[in-house]
């Protein structure tokens, strides 16, 4: 009975944990969906240029809006007796503002070229990186991955090129190929089974499914495969959750 009782208790706990995980995911997805739906209908005018300023007016995206001034990637707009700041990316041509004005404001606030990214990898490592455009849909990228867990530690650096393969609305698809070097501690079985520190060179292929959160931020699911040139444990597939920010 005791064994049955323990089993039942473990099973109940596992189900409760699973339920809580599913509930958390559902709540987050609902919040994101609601806010995305809301964003398509409403514009939030803020007290100043920046998301740190509070929202002072909430207006419909179809309202008559006059552009008063721009600062960086924010515009000061007037509608009736209301004034407030909007991100340029939220503004489109409509009553009170011409396509030329919107284009002009967007041109004055275009984002920089450098992208920074950070995230977590399924092998227990953390990943950071940066990329810079080489051509219209090609970027040079550097990525650093590190796992630091006592003796089971490794790190490596990858240089390569990233290409946008396809795009549809908010979803984009990227491919990356690169080469790199790294080292693993003696106790780590990442590249070798023997108790000795190892340094290795490798090639990496990755593909990203990127969800465009806004004009500057992507959330990416990254699938990657790393093949070391001379190691006992040469092949390493992994998945990563990455956020990529255009500075």
């Amino acid at each position: 009975m005791l064994v049955l009782g323990n089993t039942w208790r473990r099973s109940w706990r596992a189900e409760a944990v699973q339920f809580l995980q599913q509930l958390t995911v559902a709540v987050i997805i609902s919040c994101l969906s609601v806010s995305i739906c809301a964003e398509t209908d409403l514009l939030y005018l803020r007290k100043g240029p920046g998301a740190a300023f509070p929202v002072v007016f909430e207006i419909s995206s179809g309202s008559e809006l006059h552009i008063v001034a721009t600062q960086s990637d924010w515009v000061l707009v007037r509608t009736g007796s209301c004034h407030g700041w909007l991100p340029v990316a939220r503004l489109s041509a409509g009553p009170g503002r011409s396509a030329a004005q919107v284009w002009s404001a967007a041109q004055a606030s275009h984002k920089g070229k450098l992208q920074l990214e950070a995230g977590t990898v399924s092998n227990g490592a953390l990943q950071v990186g940066a990329s810079y455009p080489l051509a219209a849909d090609m970027r040079a990228a550097v990525r650093f991955e590190r796992k630091h867990n006592g003796d089971d530690s490794f790190h490596h650096l990858t240089l390569g090129a990233e290409k946008q393969l396809n795009a549809a609305d908010r979803i984009r698809w990227f491919g990356f190929a690169g080469v790199g070097v790294g080292s693993a501690d003696a106790k780590s079985s990442y590249w070798q089974d023997e108790d000795e520190k190892i340094e290795a060179a490798f090639a990496t292929l990755t593909t990203d499914i990127a969800w465009r959160a806004n004009h500057a931020l992507d959330i990416r699911l990254r699938l990657q495969y790393q093949q070391a040139f001379d190691a006992d444990n040469a092949g390493h597939p992994s998945a990563a959750l990455i956020w990529n920010y255009n500075l």
């Binding site: 919040c31 806010s35 998301a51 721009t70 227990g124 006592g150 004009h215 920010y245």
Partner: protein
């Protein structure tokens, strides 16, 4: 005399009206009728100091000291960076033969993350003044170093922030887990943390 007073008043009015409408040549670049403006200070991010508390399995609760930085990436999203220092334990822990956790060990956490604001509103204590607030979901990833061992720190939580003109205050709550093998073996690698923050903008 009856005519003199209205005439003087009319003269003053005319002079002041002329002064108001006098155009001073102020060259300004305009694109499609829109001016650029540097008169408004843009806020790109925020920083803050936090004092918190953490409760963990099989270990006494303890205080945490946090330094946080936030970079606003659009209207709702922000990127996070945080350093946290926390005393880990008071008494040594041994597994019967060896000491596996020295007394008075400390933990250092360096984490980055992302936050998403999904709700906002106004709060008021007595009705005369109201303060804008926002509620955000936050995800943290980082490395937690504890004595002789390290591990990847993962946390998910919520943060409530009250936004004043020159500073912000916030309260955050999160559940966390570290994959530090030594703490994991002791069952001390997870718990909950909450903190109160105060900070300013840049």
């Amino acid at each position: 005399m009856k005519l003199l007073l209205p005439a003087v008043a009319l003269l003053f009015l005319t002079v002041s009206a002329l002064a108001d409408t006098t155009d001073i040549y102020q060259p300004e670049i305009k694109r499609a009728g829109v001016t650029g403006s540097d008169a408004f200070q843009q806020r790109r991010g925020a920083w803050g100091f936090g004092l918190g508390y953490q409760s963990r399995d099989y270990l006494e609760s303890g205080i945490t000291y946090n330094l946080t930085g936030r970079w606003f990436a659009g209207e709702s999203w922000y990127l996070l960076g945080e350093y946290q220092y926390a005393p880990l334990n008071n008494d040594a822990v041994n597994d019967g033969t060896d000491v596996v956790l020295d007394e008075d060990e400390n933990s250092h956490l360096l984490a980055y993350g992302v936050g998403y604001t999904f709700m906002q509103g106004l709060a008021s204590f007595h009705g005369f003044e109201s303060y804008p607030w926002q509620l955000a979901a936050e995800l943290y990833l980082g490395e937690q170093s504890t004595g002789d061992s390290d591990g990847r720190y993962t946390a998910l939580g919520v943060s409530w922030q009250v936004i004043d003109d020159n500073y912000w205050v916030g309260a955050s709550w999160r559940v966390y887990q570290s994959n530090d093998q030594r703490l994991s073996d002791l069952g001390m690698n997870s718990g909950a943390q909450w903190a109160l923050y105060i900070g300013s903008y840049f």
